[in-house]
Symmetry: none
Subunit: 150 residues, 2 copies
DNA sequence: CGGGATTGCGCAATTG
DNA sequence: TCAATTGCGCAATCCC
């Protein structure tokens, strides 16, 4: 993609190329007919499409020049868009990772809390208490009800 | 946008097109006195890199043809890659949304459980329990982390 | 040195 | 009418 600074190609001094002289062999390319059993002339013909515009006129050169600029511009734009898209992919990938990390964390937290909850429930059910201590044998958890739910 | 499948422009397949006056804007008539005194001869600085290869040889045509195919192939590939990239963006975007939804859900669940815990803690307040926690927030989870590694 | 793959460029037909 | 696109061929490079 990134083209090294080496001047690739483009050495043709694009300036005013006065190519008139082509003795004789120069003229517009004939719309070669589809030969072979191809389609015949497609749609209507409408007389002349437009003057073929001769290649040695200033008009021609002017138009060409303009089109060349437009083409260049268009291509540049296109390339940039592609690059942007590529960048967006990376951006999204990053964000994805971030989100996944977060999910992982949340999941873990949830897991811990749930475990604690379960433990508690068990204690209540069995009327047992966690070995935390010193005595305190009384079950304090009487009030714990689970209303969880959702 | 919709580009009709019709071959636009060049339908010249690769058949024998006698005069190829198009292509590069510059094209001097084939075979012209090379060594003449004119400046027409390209600067031979540094010797000839590679024979300019005359345009009327079979060799030339053959090469051109091959290159044209390669070019076509390369461009096709390029286009497809671009498309893939674009598709990847969409894919990533989707996944992104999915992940975010999940996060939302997990967050909510966590919130609920935490609230529950807070309630219990309140109830337990009467009793003395190993106060390993004043903060009932996530810190607990963070501290306990263990199992499940990934 | 050979030869496919890339890339910049101009041309011409289309499209908008 | 004119700019923007698009397919294509050419030539210079790049890169095995």
């Amino acid at each position: 993609m990134s083209k090294p600074p080496g001047q690739a190609g483009a050495m043709e001094a694009n300036g005013l190329v006065s190519a008139h002289a082509q003795g004789s062999g120069l003229q517009q390319v004939p719309q070669l007919s589809p030969g072979g059993g191809g389609k015949a002339t497609p749609p209507s013909k409408q007389g002349k499409k437009s003057a073929p515009l001769e290649r040695n006129t200033d008009e021609y050169r002017m138009r060409r020049e303009r089109n060349n600029m437009a083409v260049k511009k268009s291509r540049l734009k296109s390339k940039q868009k592609a690059q942007d898209t590529l960048q967006r992919v990376n951006q999204l990938k990053e964000e994805n990772e971030r989100l996944e990390a977060k999910i992982k964390l949340l999941t873990k937290e949830l897991s811990v809390l749930k475990d604690l909850f379960l433990e508690h429930a068990h204690n209540l059910a069995d009327n047992v208490q966690p070995p935390s201590s010193t005595g305190t044998t009384e079950s304090a958890a009487t009030t714990i009800q689970d209303g969880a739910g959702q």
